[in-house]
Symmetry: C2
Subunit: 330 residues, 2 copies
């Protein structure tokens, strides 16, 4: 079977099948990060690939910004487990005609965020390559244990940090060459280039044992909600009017409406489920999370699937979601 | 400056300069693996890139063998630090027309060696890519502390495990389409496809505090000896007639003579320095190392450089060494 038929998620399932779960592995392939035990302590390991032309475009991405975002994306995976990042390795495939100065700018972008987030770059590899690509691995701690995607139950509340859709709308503005279209555009584009990993929120939710299932919104709210629901064995209802949108999003989205908020990727916000009786504890924890959180829906039994409803309780037509690297594009 | 002028090692130096050494980092960029402390315990992290057309060639490499070798190469980096491997992440860039079956064969090769060496595959990433490439990160323990490249002193003995040059000679046979040229060819080619990481040897040398400086021979004896000497601030003399050569190498090397043993890569043997007064302790430890070790030379003061001498004490012309991904090929 060709990969283009099987798809990325199908491939991951196949890989899981040929991969026995080893000693000390609390959680292997299939969550935001792996959760392992070493001599009685919990560690998290996450890896991400970024390839020129697939994950980023040098027409509107600077080397500095790319470095920053490379680390941010990995930090977000650890945030989604309630982890604290520590050590980064970076392997780069570099075209032979690249300028050294640009590679240094890339590392400066890494360094800026590494210093802010307490991360040390400790190693990696470099090789010649036709296209520029980056493979990053980040190791961190889980001082309060890790929060997986699988702990949600029907009846839980669903929350999300920050606002949704900004990064994809920012990317759309870049594609349409509207990067100089005022303050709103500047905000949205900065959300695309410089996402904020919600490390404080993730750690607080783990420490207070508030989040029962958690994932970062990297592929779009609905797709990542789908992963959380599948792992937890539940369905979900999202209240359209509760979706947190930035002022810039509201003013610039136009005909796209809620599309990017529901299906756009790269927001790197945290989506989590909370037992309803923990609401008041969440209220108290909010000020330590460093970002607003919004109650956007409920977990329901699996047979009800995933729905988005308006204030009258009517279901919205859910946009086709799911970015799959290997599936043939339409 | 272009990378093709600066070269890979120049680039690594530049990266080190823009990368501050963080908390808990015992050893960062520039050794076989990073050595970090987490809550009082020592961990090792290593990362390697393997790219189709640069590091391997599907004309003579099977997917199963490639999986096996991917892990072996990373195990060897940990062996060279005296470490014990634990957790692997794998990121793959995969062309869209690849067959799923082949990717599964790749993971089976990983699994075979993972089970043998106590490693768990815990995560990674996959993406579409024009060329197939693999980015692996391996995390391990250093139960006896890590052995760096930098602990050698003038007066130390130099030892190497196993035999040298077999893997490159095997690759040459594959290139010359002599893969069916008898038992010797089969042995040499298997050394190219299925290298053995010297984990037991590395751990024993660390536990017994025998190796003072250590590196794995991945780029060829002379180049890796150069790294060890540079990190230790020493020079070295290698005795030509002491170089450990396999029977197959002796019979198949022909006009190449010692060239592959001195300058060929991918042997994944361990090169280490030993204080001379520890010789008898090394003798006793040998049977626990799982591989023969050979005394091949001495460490000398840095100003004497690196020389290979014959039994009359005459220096050999040292072959031009050093594989650099970014330097323009001659």
């Amino acid at each position: 079977m060709k990969l283009s038929e099987l798809g990325e998620f199908g491939l991951i399932e196949r890989i899981r099948k040929v991969t026995p779960k080893g000693r000390g592995v609390r959680l292997g392939i299939g969550d935001d990060a792996a959760w392992v035990e070493c001599e009685g302590r919990s560690f998290l390991i996450t890896s991400d690939l970024l390839i020129e032309g697939i994950h980023f475009d040098f027409r509107w991405t600077s080397f500095y910004g790319l470095g920053y975002k490379t680390l941010a994306v990995n930090l977000s995976d650890l945030a989604a487990m309630g982890g604290r990042p520590a050590y980064l390795t970076l392997s780069l495939g570099i075209p032979v005609d690249f300028k050294t100065e640009n590679i240094e700018k890339f590392y400066r972008g890494i360094r800026t965020l590494a210093v802010q987030s307490g991360v040390s770059l400790v190693g990696g590899d470099t090789s010649l390559s036709e296209r520029f690509f980056i493979s990053a691995s980040l190791v961190g701690h889980a001082p309060y244990g890790a929060i997986t995607r699988g702990g949600g139950k029907a009846g839980d509340d669903l929350y999300v940090t920050g606002t949704l859709g900004d990064a994809t709308l920012g990317l759309e503005l870049l594609r349409r060459k509207k990067s100089k279209a005022g303050k709103d555009a500047a905000f949205l584009i900065s959300r695309h280039h410089f996402p904020t990993a919600r490390l404080k929120a993730g750690l607080t939710l783990a420490k207070e044992r508030l989040a029962k299932a958690m994932i970062d919104v990297s592929d779009g709210l609905l797709q990542d909600l789908g992963h959380l629901c599948k792992a937890s064995g539940i369905g979900a209802v999202i209240w359209q009017e509760a979706l947190p949108l930035s002022r810039a999003y509201r003013s610039a989205a136009g005909k796209a409406g809620l599309f990017y908020a529901l299906a756009g990727g790269e927001d790197y916000e945290l989506l989590f489920s909370l037992r309803s009786h923990h609401r008041s504890r969440l209220e108290k924890a909010k000020r330590r999370m460093g970002v607003p959180v919004t109650h956007i829906g409920k977990c329901v039994p699996a047979d009800q699937g995933i729905r988005v409803i308006n204030s009258k309780g009517q279901p919205l037509a859910i946009p086709p979601v799911g970015y799959d690297h290997f599936k043939v594009r339409r």
